[in-house]
Symmetry: C2
Subunit: 333 residues, 2 copies
């Protein structure tokens, strides 16, 4: 009986694999070098019996979020959320009217905000949401994302994700990969929606964090956000947090800015076949065109290194049939 169950399972799996192969896993990607480099890599590491084969447990894929999986222009989505939270909390903080970066946040001055630099900006999410329980924060983020629209695309932010990258995430998972997001954005800001939108569950997210504390409210333990920043998950910190949370070196890494470069270098330095990819924003018409001198999402050193080392650089304009899910679906290949 046990053997029969085993045989039935094998037959079902083989049937499923055969059926899957007939369907194009990346319909929104134009055929060309970029798409082929992805298909080739996945075929290489998933074909049993070859020297390049990687067991499923070690098929770790890491993705940056802002600018890699969803749009980060004219500024990070989380900026807009935090600015609204700063406004909501401003009555309790009259000093914010004169202190940066709060002053710029209150007047909606993105340029002013950006001049505060990372060390200034990271103060905002902590200060704006201090004292909220994780459930309150989760609900606030969720409600905001449901009701607020991108200033240019006039769509909810959760629709401003890249359709080709959704397909890539799903294709990797169908090929036995475990997909992680490793973002400089706030961990708790991603938690309410990445499973629904990207298929990435809460335990496969790594992001920036504020210090939390546990306290009793109405006799029940709750986790409460504090103002103090715990981790700015950017650059080398991305590598260290991957080691801390996952404990395995990724075999595929995708980013779009210099902040992702150490993560790609760390991925590339492992043995066997590795895939390092950069999304390059070349499409000012359908999305945005920016790279080497951008204030948000600068890709300069990373582009040089990608060229020197033969990493895959996705040219949005050339490689993607459509950018967002709300565009018309492309005709079948």
């Amino acid at each position: 009986m046990n053997k029969i169950a085993h045989w039935l399972c094998l037959a079902a799996c083989l049937a499923a694999v055969t059926l899957r192969a007939a369907v194009d896993p990346l319909p929104s990607w134009n055929d060309g070098q970029t798409r082929q480099s992805i298909l080739k890599f996945v075929a290489e590491v998933t074909t049993p019996g070859t020297s390049l084969f990687v067991p499923p447990a070690e098929r770790i894929a890491v993705f940056d979020n802002d600018g890699t999986l969803w749009t980060e222009q004219p500024a990070y989505t989380q900026f807009y959320f935090v600015m609204d939270r700063v406004k909501a909390a401003a009555a309790r903080h009259p000093e914010w009217n004169t202190q940066e970066p709060f002053k710029s946040a209150l007047t909606g001055d993105i340029k002013g905000l950006l001049t505060s630099g990372v060390q200034g900006l990271v103060k905002l999410p902590g200060a704006a949401c201090e004292g909220m329980t994780i459930e309150e924060y989760d609900r606030a983020a969720h409600d905001w994302l449901e009701t607020t629209r991108h200033p240019r695309f006039a769509r909810p932010y959760l629709e401003c994700v890249y359709q080709p990258m959704l397909e890539l995430l799903a294709f990797l998972r169908a090929s036995g990969f475990k997909t992680y997001i490793v973002s400089g954005g706030s961990l708790e800001f991603m938690r309410p929606w990445t499973e629904k939108v990207y298929g990435v569950p809460p335990e496969q997210l790594i992001g920036s964090t504020v210090r939390n504390k546990m306290e009793l409210r109405n006799g029940q333990p709750v986790i409460v956000r504090q103002a103090e920043v715990d981790l700015v998950n950017d650059k080398v910190e991305k590598v260290l947090s991957i080691q801390r949370v996952i404990g395995r070196r990724p075999i595929l890494a995708f980013g779009n800015s210099d902040g992702d470069l150490p993560m790609l270098q760390w991925t590339a330095a492992g043995g066997g076949r590795r895939f390092c990819g950069y999304v390059r924003h070349t499409d000012g018409e359908r999305e945005y065109a920016y790279a080497r001198t951008a204030a948000v999402g600068r890709l300069d050193k990373g582009l040089d290194e990608a060229g020197a080392r033969g990493w895959t650089v996705v040219d949005m304009k050339r490689d993607w049939k459509r950018v967002f899910p709300f565009e018309a679906a492309p005709a079948g290949r």
Copy 2:
């Protein structure tokens, strides 16, 4: 064809479930209230169509390690490893001959070590292994665990794990749970072996950490341990790290000391059915008998709270047919 594959898969799964139900999942547990409380809980949360049903993605189970999954007496296993590492590094640190906790570590004085308190003890793993890459540390821990034996049981430490808890971990996973270890011990000290011994992969481990840094050695990026302690993952920190790494509240938590109490309280405070368990060390003959006044693994407040709230308290002597895998297997039920 798709329908046939689907039908074959269903048939195979049903056959597998039927086969599994006939096998006792907890053969090393004496039948009684403790074993029944586990079986009842798992049946309740995994039976579809009831109000207590929990979807597989939310079946998060967290386990302390030292004293819950393996023996922690006469002192934490990691202590012995770290003492050996302190000796190995002592030539570079003549000041350790007079400074605590290094002095006690060098003379193998466990009592002296314990008087340093947590704040003293946590200095050791960082200082002793400063400058090692994660691969070097991994190999050192692995080699040490292969060659060093428990002072009383004269077995390699990796055999001094609790057979009934191995069965519980496997039973939970077979019931769709995701099992995590949330330990006060060092994260990197667990990484080399928990998958092999407990079936818990590297990405389902949470533990204490030192700061790492990334640097270039021979042109390759490596992650290097520093002396500075980053996180002592005990008490409330266990709750905060569960939120940070998993992002879901567990529905089952198992510990053995007061350091696990906040984790159990946090688990208990969620909605629906929850399981909180304490392993109580009552068997001085087969293992150790200790609880309320122990220097290592004190269980005092936790025992009171377990009594008041009706949590499951495993009485090792009464509830376990055998403690370690190296004991003779019990006869079938």
